[in-house]
């Protein structure tokens, strides 16, 4: 009897998404727009953080945002209060954003007119980690109310991110948030990752983050033109 024969194929299952994401990244670089995506669990404060960023950046930079949710346009309506152009991506039953959704949502927008584009992913700490959206920077948020061990429970998404932001810092003492432990856990799954501590409500720590963003924009443009 003959053995079953193995045929080598080597094919990346997410190839299509990766190709689209690469094309988006090239386009963002060409158009000089710095793109940051935000991932976190539902309710960790992505929208509030982003609303604050849009409002603060608006007088100095040209900013826009895409926001993903399974349903409702609530977040887009909230972000639109900043007066920045905002578009909602309603994913239906899909639990994450994909490069194609970003590409489609950008239709009609002129990217060279922008300095910053923000992409708020669907609130989910699992699925978005597999999908490259072509962003320059992936930001993972966790709120002080979620517990310090979140990074250990979701190491993949924390590892896939470039920067971490701990939100709702105004509640830190009420929940006895252990900041050194949180930092240790984040660095256990992503050594050296830069961590910001903010309260979008009181504005605490926001300046540091905004300065960081401005610096990132300058650096990305320097690299793109060198």
């Amino acid at each position: 009897m003959s053995e079953p024969r193995l045929v080598e194929v080597r094919r990346n299952v997410l190839k299509q998404n990766d190709i689209l994401a690469r094309a988006l990244r090239d386009r963002f670089r060409r158009d000089g727009v710095f793109v940051m995506s935000l991932v976190s669990s539902p309710g960790s404060g992505k929208t509030m953080f982003l609303e604050r960023i849009l409002t603060e950046l608006q007088p100095h930079y040209r900013v826009a945002a895409l926001v993903g949710d399974l349903a409702t346009e609530n977040d887009a309506a909230r972000l639109a209060r900043s007066k920045a152009p905002v578009k909602q991506i309603t994913t239906g039953t899909v639990c994450h954003l994909e490069a194609l959704m970003v590409q489609n949502a950008l239709e009609g927008w002129s990217l060279p007119q922008l300095d910053f584009l923000f992409i708020e992913n669907v609130g989910n700490l699992v699925c978005p980690s597999s999908y490259d959206l072509g962003e320059n920077l992936r930001l993972v948020l966790m709120s002080v109310t979620e517990g310090e061990d979140k990074p250990l429970k979701y190491p993949t998404i924390f590892n896939s991110a470039d920067v971490a932001v701990i939100t709702k810092n105004d509640l830190a003492s009420a929940v006895e948030f252990d900041w050194p432990l949180a930092e240790k856990n984040i660095h256990a799954v992503r050594p050296g990752m830069r961590i910001f501590q903010v309260s979008a409500k009181t504005g605490e720590g926001m300046k540091d983050y905004l300065d960081f963003l401005s610096q990132q924009l300058t650096e990305s443009r320097t690299v793109a033109h060198s």
Binding site: P4, L6, R11, C95, V126, T156, N159, A188, P191
Partner: protein, 126 residues
């Protein structure tokens, strides 16, 4: 829970590769990195559903777990992580450097039936 769309992607990729080669698939081999963001059990369950009414119906999915390999800047060598909860070098304890392996989500091989000597399904599953 994005495993169903991943499973459908696997079925699509495997079907295309099989058609290109004109072979009958018995099983699909997948390399799955620990950092792929995909849950193996959920994927195995979804694979069966994704295969329904396709040329791959009745085939099995064989998953090879791919551990995370990092570069240790201190040892200046590749190191396999013992746990994704701890990105430190298992030899020297230094923080891990670049991830070299562990994000794979790749159809790596097809187990096929040769048309001249068809195999019995029981034997293929062994």
């Amino acid at each position: 829970m994005h495993e169903l769309s991943i499973a459908m992607g696997i079925v699509e990729a495997a079907t295309e590769e099989a058609q290109k080669r004109g072979v009958q698939v018995k099983a699909v081999h997948l390399r799955l990195g620990e950092l792929s963001g995909v849950v193996k059990d959920a994927l195995l369950f979804c694979y069966e559903v994704a295969c329904q009414d396709t040329a791959l119906a009745g085939t099995s999915l064989i998953v090879e777990d791919v551990p995370v390999v990092v570069f240790c800047p201190r040892c200046k060598d590749r190191r396999t992580l013992q746990s994704v909860q701890s990105f430190t070098c298992p030899e020297c304890g230094s923080p891990a450097g670049e991830v070299l392996q562990g994000k794979e989500l790749e159809v790596c091989a097809l187990e096929v039936e040769d048309s001249e000597a068809p195999l019995q399904p029981e034997e293929v599953r062994k």
